[in-house]
Amino acid sequence: MQRQGFSRTAVILHWLLAVSIFFLFISSWWMMGLPLPSPELQFRAFPFQLHKNIGITLVIIILMLLYVRLRHRPAPPDSTDMAPWMHWLAIAAHVAVYGLVLAVCITGYLSSAHTRWDTVFWWTLEFPRIAAPNEEMNEFWGELHMWTAWALLGIIAVHVSGAIYHAFRNDGIVRRMMRW
């Protein structure tokens, strides 16, 4: 028999992902207000490297979450009293969240790869250079990174609204992702 909710691993990964995404948004707004880097001014060094570390880790987490969710599919929710458009909106929002998280992380990495700054994953694993510094490419991927991030924030708002809607209805749907 299929279990009612998502597996515990999926639940933990989901909430880890949520906290990390919000941290990345909030810290990025702050760190972009720090002085531009120079040999004497290194305010941006730590927050930018941390931003990259968490972003790369998010790719790993989301791939793990996808694997866990596809491998251990919970029983479908009883959606008899849910309007079809709402059901399809929920599916579309989920797919968009997964797609956009990956897109934001990949565009961010590609933008960073075209700068003069190296990526040392969690200050231990040095990533090989995949491109020479190129200001145009850095800007191109940087713009994409920014716009996909705004799109992600919008789609998260839809996702969160859906969760709150179901919590107010107390129909058991949010409980599926809150099984500790």
Binding site: I26, W30, L36, P47, E135, A167, F168, N170, D171, G172
Partner: protein, 183 residues
């Protein structure tokens, strides 16, 4: 379990309070985590003599960031102003409170989930953790009040809003417990 069963077996207040606690908890973990990092980064990168070097504003960087030379120079003045406005004790106190706040906020996410599932210990734990978060807000408020106008302008409004939200969560959990007890 059908939807109908779900609706009747677990209380509405716990479902709503739990989800609100989770949403706020996720956001607050990020906010407090960022605050702790902010204090650490600014403190560790300020020149020892307090004299900031001249701004380095290459044209290509300005274009990439979408800022003017004046704004680039202001970024340095801004950090310097924040550092100057903070008394010596402030960064450590703020870092400690933000660190504890981040941990409590993350715990409140777990508590929120327990409320949604209405586990037996959930409402009591909710009162304790939400009160802890409100206490952190009060301590941060007191710390900022004892600085100066610059930091008060930056922090006080936000802290007050969080305090009101946490107070509402505490009262909500208490009201839920009382209604369960009298049912």
């Amino acid at each position: 379990m059908s939807n109908e069963n779900n609706k009747t077996s677990l209380p509405h207040w716990a479902s709503i309070l739990g989800v609100v606690a989770i949403m706020l908890g996720v956001f607050l973990t990020a906010v407090q985590g960022n605050e702790a990092m902010k204090q650490a980064v600014v403190t560790s990168n300020m020149p020892a003599d307090g004299v900031m070097p001249a701004a380095d504003c290459p044209e290509e960087e300005l274009e990439e960031e979408g800022i003017t030379v004046a704004e680039c120079e202001y970024l340095i003045e801004h950090v310097k102003g924040m550092a100057l406005a903070a008394p010596d004790w402030f960064p450590n106190v703020q870092m400690t409170l933000a660190g504890i706040g981040a941990v409590l906020a993350f715990i409140s996410v777990i508590i929120g989930g327990a409320l949604v599932n209405y586990t037996p210990w959930a409402s009591k734990a909710a009162v304790v953790v939400f009160s802890g978060l409100a206490a952190i807000d009060l301590l941060q408020f007191a710390a900022v009040v004892n600085t100066g106008p610059t930091l008060r302008e930056v922090y006080l409004g936000g802290i007050l809003l969080w305090f009101i939200l946490h107070l509402m969560l505490v009262v909500g959990a208490l009201a839920g417990r009382h209604s369960e007890a009298s049912a």
